[in-house]
């Protein structure tokens, strides 16, 4: 077995997969976004409750897919829950891959980055239809976006 493959399913990853942080839905999210990786069928949706200061008071995710996509979503939600949207904006795809930990091949990086992509859209996707920038108003800021 190769060492680079061996490390993907380490305990830290499997823990998040089987015992995820904040998997579920918020009753009244202020922001929400859902997307999939059509090639593999992984789905992630995020509910955020962002207060007027831009603080993410609550963050939940739901979805289905491979271990990597779901564990990554759990890690990401744990990371940003209670944080500020500015920190999310500064959180790059590279940061996401580092947060996940195990080295991934380009194909599996897509799984890992799904929730990151959904989050970058969710912060620009308020649930209130009257507010500005209803749908993902801006593209995620990263050279890794095309992954």
């Amino acid at each position: 077995m190769s060492s680079s493959e061996e490390e993907i399913y380490q305990e830290h990853v499997l823990d998040h997969y089987e015992d995820p942080y904040h998997r579920g839905r918020l009753e009244q999210p202020t922001h929400h976004h859902k997307d999939d990786n059509p090639l593999c069928g992984d789905v992630v949706e995020l509910d955020l409750a962002i207060d007027s200061d831009g603080k993410i008071a609550q963050a939940y995710f739901d979805g289905e897919g491979c271990c990597i996509s779901q564990a990554a979503a759990s890690m990401l939600i744990e990371k940003i829950d209670g944080g500020h949207v500015d920190a999310v904006k500064d959180f790059t795809a590279k940061d996401m891959l580092e947060l996940f930990g195990p080295k991934l091949t380009p194909n599996r990086q897509k799984c890992c980055l799904l929730s990151w992509r959904v989050l970058q859209s969710a912060i620009y996707a308020p649930c209130d239809g009257n507010r500005e920038g209803k749908s993902p108003a801006e593209k995620p800021r990263s050279s890794q976006e095309s992954l």
């Binding site: 499997l14 942080y21 491979c66």
Partner: protein
């Protein structure tokens, strides 16, 4: 097995005895490769097959000693290349039932062959309100070109359903063949379920309703003795790389009367008789559909692949792959938590798609890869089929004659190891992470 296999033709395919893969494996250099320090177990043959030295040598020899552009070259090299290219066409003619050379169009692959029919025959014959009949088990290559045609013409797609055990619901066929049906397109073998479809019976039903039939034979021609005249199909498409040949070469068989009536597909050199400023006059068959420099080296590689398959024996291949699939179904279904999709072993080719409870197909493929085992995971270019089955992704083991029963056992053991990766964690997952 099904009606399309196991029929020995004593003339051209004498070897119906038990196939011994060890007799052939040494011709495939890649099969000696180690993946993650484990022997490669290549079970992704429905996606593409590996190449024997003989195919590579045939192409090398052409490039090294006889290479020049085909047709109209008045010099030795061009004539040699042309002779080899047209000999390759004759080899394909013999492979699928001694059809005429005018009925064999070389394309870039199965997909292009189907697109050729959709663009040329489809644009000429399909009008608003018409219907094109597909089945729920088609590969995207046999769906999307028809959806595009339907969109261009205002036609609609109808779907022959499948049964829960992965057969076509043939009882529904007559009712779906209406006076508006312009074409039926059906796969001979499902690339996900392995189901062998009764093409003769389907074509007979369609014929009774005056509906021409296109058969996607990409998973069929490489694995069994096929006679398109016995099928009585109007069009048959298949590719080279799934049958030991190179990429970039495929075949469209079409009944001559249909091909004669169709307008050219791509325009360019090679497909014309003459060109004037005012317009052009197309060439005769098969050149009419082969615009530009054809993939003639690839065609020669395909012919070498066909020669090789005859040496192994296509009837033996079908019987042997059936044994591999039957063993895989038996072994895998004995593992708790493994679910297999598709018909019983008796009705299928060497394709076994499965899921492991609690483990996503991509994780299955990733962990099997650690053991040197190459399988495919995902929707296998058959999203409508996966939706019908209520699945997002499956893992698929697909066999060729160079696979062994030991490799099937290796797959089963690696699946058990995959389960352990996740089960081990289930026991320790009780601890709750606190932020």
């Amino acid at each position: 097995m099904g009606e399309s296999t196991g029929r020995a033709d004593p003339e051209s395919d004498p070897q119906t005895q038990q196939l011994d893969p060890s007799q052939w494996r040494s011709d495939f250099p890649i099969l000696a490769k180690k993946i993650h320090e484990q022997p490669l177990v290549y079970l992704d043959n429905a996606a593409t097959t590996q190449k024997p030295r003989q195919v590579l040598a045939a192409m090398d020899e052409l490039y090294e000693t006889k290479y020049a552009n085909v047709h109209r070259g008045i010099h030795v090299l061009s004539e040699e290349s042309t002779d080899l290219f047209e000999a390759a066409r004759n080899t394909v003619c013999r492979l699928i039932g001694n059809v005429a050379r005018e009925e064999i169009i070389f394309t870039r692959g199965t997909t292009e062959a189907i697109n050729l029919v959709a663009r040329s025959w489809g644009d000429q014959n399909v009008v608003e309100g018409d219907e094109i009949l597909l089945t729920e088990m088609e590969h995207h290559a046999n769906i999307v070109p028809w959806q595009q045609l339907a969109a261009r013409k205002g036609a609609s797609i109808r779907w022959l359903p499948i049964t829960d055990d992965g057969h076509l619901a043939l009882d529904d066929l007559d009712a779906l063949l209406s006076s508006r049906t312009k074409l039926m397109a059906v796969t001979a073998v499902s690339n996900v379920l392995g189901t062998i479809n009764p093409i003769e019976q389907i074509v007979a039903c369609a014929r009774a309703a005056n509906v021409p039939v296109l058969v996607d034979a990409a998973q069929s021609v490489p694995h069994a003795k096929i006679d398109v005249t016995r099928w009585d199909a109007d069009f048959v498409a298949f590719g080279g790389h799934k049958m030991l040949g190179p990429t970039g070469i495929g075949v469209l068989y079409g009944k001559r009367s249909l091909l004669e009536s169709m307008p050219p597909f791509n325009g360019g050199g090679g497909m014309i008789r003459r060109v004037r400023k005012e317009g052009f006059e197309p060439a005769d068959l098969p050149d009419k559909f082969e615009a530009g420099t054809p993939p003639f080296v690839e065609a020669v590689g395909l012919a070498a692949a066909i020669d090789y398959l005859h040496k192994v024996g296509l009837s033996s291949i079908a019987d042997y792959e059936h044994q591999l699939a039957a063993r895989a179904i038996e072994t895998l279904s004995a593992i708790d938590g493994v679910h297999i999709f598709g018909p019983p072993a008796a009705d299928r080719a060497g394709i076994v798609s499965f899921q492991i409870e609690g483990v996503h197909a991509h994780d299955v493929a990733q962990i099997l890869d650690r053991f040197g085992i190459a399988v495919r995971a995902g929707h296998h270019c058959a999203m409508p089929l996966h939706l019908r089955l209520g699945l997002t992704a499956t893992a698929r083991a697909s066999f060729y004659f160079y696979n062994t029963l030991e490799e099937v056992e290796a797959l089963a053991r690696a699946i058990e190891e995959t389960q352990k990766v996740f089960r081990k964690n289930s026991r320790s997952a009780k601890k709750v992470r606190q932020k």
